[in-house]
Structure formats: C-alpha cells, structure tokens
Symmetry: C2
C-alpha cells in the first residue's frame, strides 16, 4: 500500500468512555430491533483486549521477526503457513493455502452463522529493508519511546501492514475469549506479493472457492492505521490505477547506435540511444510536462458534483501552506488555487518520470556514448481507464511516432478502483469514526494505488476500502513504526486500534 | 589522455638492426653537414638501455606504487616532489615546483647547450581505481604474461601515462650514462590534474618562467605508447576540444515542482523537474539526435582538401567491418559510407549524452516524483570553436527558450588543438617511424581530447603532439598495462620504447 498523501486538520474526539457508551447504546438499539447479533458486552471485550495486550503485542513482534519478501524470494511459503496458523488461532475454521503462479495466497473463512459476511484483505509480505539504515534492528520489533508520539514498535512491516492486521486478529481473539458473539462471518484473503505489485492477486482472488466465498460478502476491507498525528481520518472511496514501466532505448533494439558503451568522441559518426530516449519521451507530454499527448490516450471523465463537494469540504479543512511546505512546492501546476489543484489531483491521469538512468551516472563525467538509456515511468489511471488499455495506447503511440524499437517493460500495475460512499462498508466506517469523536473526511479517490480493483471490478463488483484507528509511519522506509501506547488521547494506541475493529465488525452487522 | 579510437592496418617493420643502421647513417650525415650534435654512438646507447633495463623497470614500478589522484586529493604534493626528483635524476639541471590554485606543476629544464629546444608534457597523476576490479593489485605493478602480447606490467598508470613517460626518462639516463651528447635541450612541464581535465594547466604553463622556457622550443610532445597490437601507428595532428558539463533541472532553481523527492501520485498537481530536463534537452539536437540545434552555435568549417586526403588514405587501410564489430554499430549516422563517416568524425562538433540520472535509478521502480534530474553532456569542439564560446551559446540558448533555470555546470574542458603536418615535431616522428619500418598514417585530428591547446593556442602557438613506440591498454579501466617484453617483433617492448625516444630526440636535433 502506498503512503497516503493526505494532511489532516484537528478535531477533538470524544473520550473512549463516551464512545463505548455510544456504541453500546447503538448495539442495544440494534438488538432490540430484532437484528441478528446478541447484545455484546463491549466492556467485557475491552477488558479482554487489555488483558491480552502483552500477548497481542508479542504476536506482532513474532510476526515481524519472520519477514516474507517476494522480491527477494524470501520466506514466502513459510510466511503463508504462518499467516494460516494465525488465522486458525484467531478463529477461522476453514484455512487454505491457495497456490498461484507466484507466491501462495492464504484463504480463510470464519463462519459465525451470521447473516452478514465481510471480506478482509491482508498482505503477509513486507518491503525490502537494509538494517544498516535503521536506528533499531528491523526484525527485533523493539518498543521505543518516540517523543510526542508515545511508545512505538519499530520494525519492518510494523505499520505496512502487520501492525494493523495483527490488531484486527487481536479483535477476533478478544471477542471470542470474552465469550461474545462474532457479529459477522469473515472471508480472509492474504496475499504475499503486495510489495511487488500483486501480480497474481487475480489468480488468487478469482480462484473459484475464494471468489464464491467473497461473492457473498458486503465488501472487502484492509486493516490500516488511518490516523495522522492529529488523530484525524480521511475515508477514501477508491484509488487511481497505476502502471509502472520502463521505457528503454538501446542500440541493440534500435539497430542503430552502439551495442555497448563506446567512447563519446564517436558521437560524430554513431547514433545515440540516449538521445533517442529523450526524443521519444518528448512526445508523451506537453511542453509543460503536465498534459498527456499520447495519441489515442483516454481522457479523464469530469468530476461528479458529489466528488467536487467532497474535495471542497476536505480542502477547506486542510492547510495549503502546510502542504506546500511539506512537499517544498511553491506553486501547484498552472498556479492553480488549492481546491482546483486538489480537483486535478483526484481527477487527472498522469505520466510521471520516476527516474532517468543511462550511461554514466556517478560523480562528474565519463566520456561514453551509452548503448542504452531508460526512463522509469508511472502512469496513474482514473476510472474508465485500465492498465492494459493504457499500455496498449502507449505502445501504439510509440510505434506510430517511429519509436517502435523503444521497449515498454511493464513491471506492475493496478486498474483504478472505486467504491460508492453509500456502501455499508463505508457508512459503517463513518459511523464508528464519528462514534469515536472524529469528524472523518470523505475523499473521492486516493492518488496512490492499491489492488482494490480485484474486488471492485467485475465479476465481484464489491465495495472495498481500508479501515482502522491507530497510527504509524515509515512504510517502505527505515525506522518504520506502529504506535503501541499513544501519548495523544486523540490518537489510538494498540488496544484502541484493536477496539476500532471490534466496533467496526459490530457496526457492519447492523 | 582519452583512449584512441583508431584501428590500424598491418605493415612489416624492418628489424631493429636495420633501423639502427639507418639512424646512425642519418646522424653521420647530420654531423658531417656541420650540425650541432656530435656523432652519437647509438649502439652504445642501446647497450646502456639494455644494461639499465631492470633499473628502469624498477623505477616505473616504484612510480606506480605512488598514485597521485587529484579527484581524491591524494598524494599530489608528494607526487610532484617525486616527479621533480625523477627529473633531476634523469639530468634536468633546473627543477621547480610551480604552485597553482589546484595541484602543483613540475617545471624542469635540461640545458644541453644545444641549438634546439624541445618541450615535453608529462602528467604525474593517474585515474582513480578500485582494486576489487583488478586481477592484479593495481599499485604492485606486477609483471604478468599476456598470451600473444608478451610480458606486461599491470598497474594503475602503467600506460596512462607513467610507462611511456618513464621510458622517455630512461632514454635520458641511457644517453648520459653511455657518455653520449644530449641532442636537444628539454623543457619539461608535468601537471598533476590531467585526469580531472587540467583545470589549472593554463596557470602552470603560462607562469612567466615556464612560458619563457617553452617559447624557445620547436614544440611540445607527450610520451605515449602509440602502437596497436599490430604495431602500426597513427600520427594525429591535433584533437577536438571538449566541454564536459551537467545540465541540471531542479525544483529549487525552477521555482516549480518539489524541493525533494515526493510521492509520484502528486504529479497530478505538482510540476516535474525531470520532464523539464527532457523538454530542455529536446531543444539541443535534431530529431535524429545528430545535428546541433543550439541557437547561434558555431558551425564546423569545411574539411580542407589535405585533411580529406589524409582521411581517404587512412580509411582505405582501416577495415570498416572490424570497426563496426568492435563498437557493435550496424550503421554509421545517416548510413554514411566509411570514408564519409570518418570525415564526419573528424569534422563535426557533437552534443553527446554521457549519462542520464534523476530520481530512482535502482532495479524496478519507485513511486517518486524526483525534485532533480541531470544529464551529463559532452560537447566536442572543432577548430574555430572555444570552450567558453560553446558554453556561452548553450546558456543563452537555454535562456532564450525559457529554460534559464536549468543549471549548466561545467566540470572541465579543453579548446581544440591543431598542429601543421609540416612541423618539425611531426616530420621527425614520421621519419623515426619510417626508420623503424612502419608506415605511419596521418590523421587530421583525434576525436578525443587533450589539453594541447595550451601549447598550440596563442601566446605560445607551438606545435604539439604525442610520440612513442610501445603498446599498452586499459587507460581508466581495470587491468591497465604497459608492454615490457613484446611477443610480437612488430611491437616495441620497454627497451624499444626507450630507444624510440632516443631516436626521436636525435631526429629532432637534425
């Protein structure tokens, strides 16, 4: 899951005591209305969460000690087995490892005999790491004091995504061990390739028995620590799609220029693949770099009025100057005002250069004529576009412009994903967040990307999203952490995160 | 000195015995014509060269053990002192270290009381190296058998330029120790910054006493191992100029885009310095990458008939198919035939991309919008152009096209340099080469670059070139070597290289 780019305003959440009263009242109302769930003893569950705190924290630490990294072909099978065992211990009765052409997925069903079924999307893999860059060993998951934040657990995967996922599992332990009714049936899909772009998520999720189980659900959510340091939460209704690819110009494919790096003086008689790359890139965007000029590329649909209103509401609460300072950006594209810049962020597809690499890249210069140069590109896609169609348009554009020799090496990508604000999965989130004294913002779609399309696209066509209180930081970076004991009453610590899943599951059962 | 790009044909050199006879006859004729030099006993000098072989080889090994590397601020002062001591031991009576704003130069005069004075250009610095990449420790200068080549000395600086330079010094030792007359006065200028582009060569060479000493000379040559593996030699009448520079686009200088790498999803609202670099680069050359389109850039003067004839003669002896195979180039620019491709090589200025570097350059992708991207560029200059004028034209072009924020960071460069084929410095080379049974080719100008302009431009306006038999390879690369005992009678070993300097000095005295 890519990092969120949202900056939140401050609100005062109500106390834990208040929101438990609100939730208990809601559930009483639910029970008296003849709904399925027996009245749960929320205070008993909370007491169980507190009682199990050490065990739950230890479970997270043990999980972090076993990193599964698909890119390094490290611990994927043992990680899947570990995930399966954890699911079983948390009460999933049917647990299966599903093979794919890549790393295996873990499929599990907790049948509570409830009328409502909810899908849960986990990843058991983590991002690569270099221990030398960390201030605390990344697999030791030590508890560390972080001034102004609280006690955090520092380790690879702490927030992305083992911390929030372990909190969700701890919620299941607590509900069961407090002798309370499980409010919904759960279908768990845990993949092991999220950090390499989920290349086999379709194979896994569309496995007949997985798809059949999910088809009965009201939607799928991924546990996530959604709180910023101010406690505030933005509920996103989807995400742009993305294609990551390399454009490579080479003498070999071109049939001109050199087949290896040669002395730069030969430029006077030899063609240059690096110049060819520059010339091909030049055709992809307008002179300001901001409008896509790929022939036949889909245009973005206009923003809906509802989405425009969401953006207006959110931008009015976000500080433009803070954002500009955070990113070191003095002007948005075209000097757009804050709200229009956010509308552009939500609505526009992009062609971005992530990196340029060719020839000599060290300090100073080196007199070579490189035989190869590459641009690392990401395309962000909005609804109506697909990964495959975007790649096809790019390829046919290059061919039509005479650059058919430029390789288009796609390394990963997702289609865009959207969920309706009215979906129960979303409304239940808003309800829990408000019960916790928060004033959640809605956001049409994150500009980052995740493989939610596998749930929201046909044949499943389910709502999908992320949920969870709690806070963490440093996904993909050194010193990744997940908050365990919060110094700020507005921000949930570990037990608060666990209770947010308890509350969400009961809310989804309504 | 950049690597040569010439490929030589084969000819049969006459034997050493024959050429000694030829040289002795020439010198006898010279003496009888009333020239200054007493008749030298060339066989006595050759015997001394053989006798001093071990000492000379040891001197080179000791020199290689002390690398001076300006880029690493390593051993420059001690290297200059070492150079000064070697000059003194070789018979230079006046030896001085000349300070510059960079590394010191070594200036030395050997006053033989001769009517002819010859300048000699040395570099006492070497290129950086990584011992891990070498098959033999680069500072140990071991003698190693190289099949088909002979016994070579492997070490950093072996061929670039300590080997040839030490052979020149060994020639001076042998002439003196054989009791023979020194045929010419010598003015030595040894710089310590050649490998970083000679940034202070002007300061050193134009120091009043250095300039005054050189002004009396008939020209300046640099010792160099000019023989390919077939023994053949090309005499170059100069070199293109070069400017090495980086073009840098950054959010900071642009005042748009981010001041640090940010998440790539933000491309939809933030400008991209990487795209800006691509768009600016695009304006520098034609769509095929081969014609310079910098506004107001000087055009190349047409080739002279004499130069065209030299190129025709040389290309008729060089194998086009071999060259294409060597470089992995299936077609020259515009599918030019061999001779025209070489005319282009000699006559045309270039804008080459040495390297592209920006944002994420590792394996796979990374979802960043980079705050900075750079192109490493070299401009090759032909006569009529200067480094300063080329840089000024580039800067004013960028400013006029609205890219005034793109930094033009010049890291080094030389003006072009040319010497007339009729110069005594050149004719003496041809004479010695022919006396050695070789059939040297003339070449209008090398497409590589060296700081000869400091000698050939006003105020000195001297001929300048390179000379020396012998062979080596791997300049700037691992496993650099200089040939000590040759397996091929057509190629000079160490003593043969020494004798070539003996012969050249006597020839220059005629």
């Amino acid at each position: 899951m890519e990092a969120s780019c949202a900056v939140h305003g401050n609100v005062s959440p109500r106390s834990r005591r208040t929101r438990l009263r609100v939730l208990a009242a809601a559930i009483l109302a639910l029970a008296s209305a003849g709904s399925w769930a027996a009245t749960p003893d929320i205070e008993a569950i909370q007491a169980k969460v507190a009682e199990q705190h050490e065990t739950s924290v230890k479970r997270l630490q043990d999980w972090i000690a076993l990193p599964s990294i698909a890119a390094e072909d490290l611990n994927s099978r043992v990680g899947a087995q570990y995930m399966a065992d954890m699911a079983r211990e948390a009460g999933f009765g049917q647990v299966e490892i599903i093979e794919t052409d890549g790393k295996p997925g873990v499929f599990a069903v907790l049948d509570a005999g409830a009328p409502t079924t909810v899908g849960v999307y986990f990843m058991y893999d983590v991002k690569q790491f270099d221990p030398a860059e960390w201030s605390s060993p990344p697999l030791e998951a030590k508890l560390i004091e972080r001034p102004g934040v609280g006690t955090v657990m520092m380790g690879r995967g702490a927030v992305n995504q083992k911390g929030p996922q372990s909190a969700m599992l701890a919620a299941l332990h607590a509900i069961r061990d407090a002798g309370q009714p499980m409010p919904v049936n759960l279908v768990l899909v845990a993949e092991g390739e999220e950090e390499i772009g989920s290349p086999h998520i379709g194979q896994f999720v569309h496995h007949p028995k997985v798809r059949a189980a999910l088809a009965d659900s009201i939607g799928v959510f991924m546990p996530m620590a959604l709180q910023g340091l101010d406690g505030e939460v933005t509920v996103s209704l989807g995400a742009k799609g993305v294609v990551e690819l390399e454009l490579v110009a080479s003498g070999e494919k071109w049939g001109r220029g050199p087949a290896k790096d040669i002395h730069s003086s030969l430029k006077a008689m030899v063609d240059s693949p690096a110049w060819r790359l520059v010339k091909a890139l030049d055709t992809l965007v307008s002179d300001d770099g901001n409008t896509i000029t790929i022939d036949g590329y889909p245009t973005a649909p206009p923003l809906s009025e509802a989405h425009r209103r969401m953006i207006a509401a959110a931008t009015s609460r976000r500080d433009e100057a803070d954002m500009k300072k955070l990113f070191g950006v003095p002007h948005w594209i075209d000097d757009l005002p804050w709200q229009q810049a956010n509308e552009r962020l939500v609505s526009q597809p992009t062609v971005n250069i992530q990196g340029l690499v060719g020839g000599y890249t060290g300090p100073g210069g080196k007199t070579v004529l490189p035989h190869r140069a590459a641009a690392k590109i990401d395309l962000r896609l909005v609804p109506g576009m697909t990964r495959d169609a975007a790649v096809a348009a790019l390829k046919s554009h290059l061919a039509a412009r005479g650059y058919g020799d430029i390789e288009v090496n796609v390394t990963g990508g997702y289609d865009p994903t959207s969920t309706d604000a009215d979906a129960r999965l979303i409304q239940a989130q808003l309800s829990v967040l408000r019960d916790n004294g928060l004033d959640p913002l809605l956001w049409p779609r994150g500009a980052g990307s995740y493989p939610g399309f596998v749930f929201t696209d046909p044949p499943l066509s389910l709502p999908a999203g992320h949920f969870g209180l709690g806070h963490g930081s440093g996904a993909h970076a050194p010193d990744e952490y997940f908050l365990i004991e919060s110094a700020n009453p507005r921000v949930a610590g570990y037990d608060g995160a666990v209770m947010s899943y308890v509350e969400y599951l009961y809310e989804l059962a309504r």
